[in-house]
Each structure stands twice: as C-alpha cells, then as structure tokens.
Amino acid sequence: MNQQLVEVISNRANAGIDPHLHIWGWEIPAYLFLGGVVAGLMILLAGLELRHKEKPRSAATEWMPLVAVALLSLGMLFLFLDLANKEHVYRFYMTFRPTSPMSWGSWILLLVYPALLLMYVSGLSAERREWLLSIKPIQALRLGALVRWTMAFGDKHRSKILWVTLGAGVGLGAYTGLLLGTMVARPQWNSAIMAPLFLTSGISTGAAVMLLTRLDKRESATLVRWDIAAIAVELSLLVVLLLGLSSGNVYSQEAAASFLGGPYTASFWSLVVIAGLVVPLTLNVLEVRRHTPMTLYAPALVLIGGLALRAILVTAGQASGLH
C-alpha cells in the first residue's frame, strides 16, 4: 500500500465538459458512419465500373449514386442537428480554413454531390435516360437540355468522372477519420491510423449497403472479395491503432486501456471486432471458399459493426484526455 495516490478536486462543472467531455452525442457517429458509407459507395461504384468495363451493369448500381446522395443528405442532416448555433450553418461556406479538417470536409461534401449526380445521370442505360427525361420535374423545370448535355458530357468523360468520384470518395472517407485523428487533445483519436481506418471501414460498409441490394452475380462476387480485403485491412489497422496507443505516452496508454480491459472493452470487442469484423469476414470467406449461399448476414453485421465502431470511438475519444 505504498503507491503514490493522487487526489484531484476541481470545481469546474461545465455542462458537456465535466466530468469528461461529452459534447457529441449520437449525431456525429451517425454522420461519420453515413459519410463513410457514401465514401465507400463512391469508391466501390467507380471501382466496379472500372473493373468490369464491358459487362452489363445491374440496375442496383445504376441508382446507387442516388442512394448515396440520400444517405449523405441524411448524414448532413445529423451534422446539422448537432450544431449548437444552427442559424449560423452558412458560415461553413463563407470561408475556407486550410488547417481545419471540418472546413475541408464541408467543401469536399460540395464536390461529392455534383460528382454523384453526374455519375448517376451519365451512368444510366438508354431506356432509363428516356425515363429520366420524361419525368415531370425535369420537364416542368425545363432541365431537359441540361440533363441531355450532362449525359453527353458523361458519355464523353465517363472514365474521368469515375476517377474523380473515386478520388472524392477517398477524400470523404479519409476526412471522416482525419477529423478525429488530428485532435491532439484526445489521445484516443490522435493517431495517423484514424484516416485509413475510417476509409477502409467506409469501403466495407459501402460494400455492405450494396450487397443488401440485388446485384449482378459478378458484381457481388467482386464486392465480397473486396469486402474481405477491406475487413482484413481494417482489422490490422485496429491492431496497429491499439499497439500504437499502448506504446505511446501515459495518456495514450490510458486510452488504449479503455479498450483492453477498460470501460469500452466489451462493446468494442463484442460489437466491433467479433460481430462487426471477424464474423462477417468468416462468413464472406465461407461464401467465397465453400460457395455457401449469399445472405444478408454479413452485410448487416458489417453495418452494425461500422456504426458501433464510430459510436464507440467518438464516445471513448471524448472520454480520453491529457490529464
């Protein structure tokens, strides 16, 4: 009983700050999750098309950019809900702050919307194009010419569009991680691993969203293989993250300890690692190696795991600090 004891008493009791930071509730993890899914969708859609150039595409991949737009909008709604000063939201777009990941993110989001819409419009099959031109809003707003021009532009520059989408997707996915990873004040987050981790998790969850839909056999086979790779990379990144934290200073070690026996151990290992990564990885491998029938289990688990990963990291990161 000779260890040094430290008793710290503070009379600060600021709401949201004490006893430890809890400024971000469910909105931010949900936004980061959806942002990751959209990033994954962009990368995968572009990647699939670049991979299977001449093959016929499934209807699902055609409208998937619209799903991405919807999910992103939902995510941005969550982000908006989190703002404490909502009427000032326009301030994001009154300036560009090169040192602020959030500023980068808000501008990247502006790039993502047109990229996705362009991808959608220019990726439509002939009959779909007719249908799109015939729908009421397009006609009423006399947008037919614009859409037609876009289609023509898309046909001409399809591969460039795909590369831009791919790039924007990587940017979006990495930004969701970078946002947390650059916070020196939160040792749990402060790691270069966060960006690639969130990016790979985004790819994996994006693949999961696509696998929930009716895809072409070839497409889904490719996606499952990519998903396996993404999950494997994600798992190794998590290991690297924890090893990195454990070998860091005392605060980083404390942060790591919260996953290795501390308060977040159970949810992290059960929901993220086992349920969200190892089991779906096993299922995917079984599908590929043993040709078991494809089910919704693996994608559903991946989505649960992806959401849990962000929820836990956002919570644990806020609880971590330098004192």
């Binding site: 040094q4 008793e7 600021n14 930071l21 301030r91 702050r97």
Partner: protein
C-alpha cells in the same frame, strides 16, 4: 523590447489558496451563464497520509501560442486576437464543437445561446489598461497578467526568477498561462 505584445498570465501556486474569488469575479465580469465557468480551481493532493503534497491552481484557457482550437475551427470564429489572446467571434460560430474537442485543457464550453465561449483574458479590460477581473480580485495576488515580450514587465520578472511549468506541454500548444511552483 519586442514590438508585438504577448499577453500571458502567471499563477503562483504557492500563494493561491483556491478560494475561487477569481472564478466568481470572472462570472460577474463576463456574465458567464449559470452552470458554466471560464476559470476554475484545481487542487491536487499527492501521496499517502501523513506524507502529502498539494498544488492549487487557478486554471483557464491557456491562450496557446499554437492554439489547436483556432486550427480546427472551420469558420474562423476562433481566432488569435491582439497580444495573442485566443478569442471567439460569436457571430461566426456554428457551434460545431470541434474546438471544444481539440482543447487539451477543456477550457471551452457551448454557451446556452449556441456559440462557443471561454476566457477572453478580459481583453475589454486589458485594452483600457486594467488587469483581467480574476487578477484584479485575487486576494492572495497569486495571479499576474502582463506582456511577456516586455522584459520589464512583472510577469517577465517572475518567469525569470521562479521555477515554472505549463500544463500538458506534450500537446505542443505552447500555453501562455504559467504556473509557478
């Protein structure tokens, strides 16, 4: 003497008794909303009975030379003002809270009106030549405020004469609030 000012504060932990007069003076001076504070007292007792040591600190925003809160602010609402004081332009703040998350000292909070709020070094007082409210009230004169770039200032003399530390130096923020040991 350097041309630019570098406002800093020194907290003499030997003089401070942790009475919280600074905290209350700040609340009154700055209309700090109920349930929040811009400065606060930390007491640290180490050891085992009867071999104990104690440090009492009056803490607040460190007005860092490398303020991470200013870096992460997406709108520029957090900025470095005159004399290096880290300030918030409330009209530009969206309440995204990135600055709060980025602060190693947990010095910021969301004001009930929506914007983020924190210690301003009482720049409105400093500009007219007064000390910040906390410094003015302190019955133990544990707090000293001044221009660290002025070698003749009391604060420069204190830092030259006494052993001091800053909090969380490993965060690389280069705080401008110093604690005399």
């Amino acid at each position: 003497m350097s041309a630019t000012k570098r406002y800093s504060m020194v907290v003499d932990t030997r003089r401070c008794v942790g009475c919280s007069a600074c905290v209350l003076a700040c609340m009154a001076e700055n209309n700090v909303p109920d349930g929040y504070c811009r400065d606060w007292i930390v007491k640290e007792v180490k050891g085992r009975f009867p071999t104990l040591t104690q440090e009492i600190r009056s803490e607040r925003c460190m007005h860092c030379t490398n303020p991470p809160c200013v870096d992460v602010c997406p709108t520029g609402a957090s900025f470095v003002g005159e004399g290096g004081a880290v300030l918030i332009q409330q009209d530009d703040c969206t309440g995204c809270k990135a600055c709060i998350a980025s602060c190693p000292y947990d010095a910021r909070y969301v004001h009930p009106e929506g914007h983020v709020d924190k210690c301003t070094f009482c720049m409105h007082r400093v500009k007219r030549g007064d000390n910040p409210a906390c410094v003015s009230v302190c019955p133990t004169r544990a707090l000293t405020f001044g221009d660290r770039n002025d070698p003749g200032s009391e604060i420069s003399k204190l830092l030259a004469a006494r052993k001091w530390k800053v909090l969380e130096p490993q965060a690389g923020t280069e705080p401008n609030v110093f604690f005399l040991e």
